[in-house]
């Protein structure tokens, strides 16, 4: 059996999950969660479950980071809006936030 491979992958998953919990800022957490998704996909492949691994890759590599980052962007914009923007300097920041 491929015991060393399974052990290595399990350790990677454990380390990635611990890192994801230890990082507190949502943006940095999204980056670590992306790597955690990769480790999980490899674990599923090594345990001979490629369908689950494919699901993990499809969802975790692009969709989950996108949803997280959009939510962070929305919450950030709401906070900036309620504190109020004043004068011309505020307009510049607002324009930058509005785009993209």
């Amino acid at each position: 059996m491929d015991d060393p491979l399974i052990v290595v992958t399990l350790l990677l998953v454990a380390a990635a999950a611990t890192a994801a919990v230890a990082v507190r800022d949502p943006v940095r957490q999204a980056l670590v969660l992306s790597v955690l998704g990769l480790c999980l996909a490899v674990l599923f492949t090594v345990l001979q479950a490629p369908d689950v691994g494919l699901s993990q890759l499809a969802v975790g590599s692009a969709l989950t980071p996108l949803l997280l980052m959009l939510a962070v962007r929305r919450v950030g914009r709401r906070a900036k809006g309620t504190t109020g923007t004043t004068g011309t300097t505020g307009t510049g920041d607002g324009e930058r936030e509005k785009a993209r």
């Binding site: 949803l67 959009l70 809006g81 607002g94 509005k98 785009a99």
Partner: protein
């Protein structure tokens, strides 16, 4: 309860749970053995119906009713998201500005987008042959469409993606799964039973009876649902803003 007492209770509970888990793990059958009572029966039934991918056979043939429930869960959660994230009275919609994108990134996005959509459709179509199926292929295709936003422009994405059409597509695909199940019922067998269609030749695209059709229904449903979900998230993050913020 003081903090120390709470931590002590947590430690005791955790230790008990750890002991039980270790005892259970030591008593499990060995991993990766050749014989398993459920496994042998599932593989036998899958091969009898000429479906090469046993997972697809379990999902869309032996346990097709559970997949109907999972598809409905996704549909209901997207419905809830649409309700929650719709533009409310105290919000206004502002046109997003264009963001400058470097030329190589833009070219890469426009070249890879069709390749990725075709790959998603390929994974849906080959669900009964190789790892994949409706869910995985649908997510890949829907995510690929958003390369337009990531590599080019948000307004390009809104032109290509009429949200109303995708919402209708989502509902239609869910209904088509139900209609396929009812068709099996009308053909004289049980709901979602894999009997009316011929099983075809093993390891070809036309094999497995109703499995490829149910795969296609789930693929369309998941792709439309993900597009609608991302559309509302993008709306909130890019277009909609609070009425009180004077930023323009």
């Amino acid at each position: 309860m003081t903090r120390r007492v709470r931590l002590l209770v947590l430690a005791l509970g955790g230790a008990g749970l750890a002991a039980l888990l270790v005892a259970a793990c030591l008593d499990l059958p060995g991993f990766g053995r050749a014989r398993h009572p459920y496994g042998t029966r599932a593989v036998h039934a899958s091969l009898a119906r000429h479906t090469a991918n046993t997972i697809a056979a379990v999902n869309f043939d032996q346990r097709a009713f559970d997949t109907l429930g999972e598809m409905t869960i996704l549909f209901a959660s997207v419905l809830g998201t649409v309700v929650l994230l719709r533009q409310s009275r105290d919000e206004k919609r502002a046109a997003p500005e264009a963001e400058r994108v470097a030329a190589p990134v833009r070219r890469y996005a426009l070249l890879v987008l069709p390749v990725a959509v075709v790959t998603g459709l390929y994974i849906v179509a080959h669900g009964q042959l190789s790892p994949g199926g409706g869910f995985q292929g649908g997510v890949v295709a829907a995510t690929a469409l958003h390369l337009l936003y990531l590599g080019a422009d948000y307004r390009a994405l809104t032109r290509v993606r009429p949200v109303g059409a995708f919402e209708i597509g989502d509902a239609l695909a869910t209904c088509s799964y139900l209609v396929l199940g009812l068709a099996c019922l009308l053909a004289g067998a049980a709901f979602l039973a894999n009997t009316p269609l011929p099983y075809g030749t093993f390891d070809t695209l036309a094999s497995g009876g109703t499995v490829p059709l149910l795969n296609a229904a789930v693929g369309m449903e998941v792709a439309c649902a993900v597009v609608v979900l991302l559309a509302h998230f993008l709306d909130q993050a890019v277009e909609i803003e609070e009425e009180g913020s004077r930023s323009g």
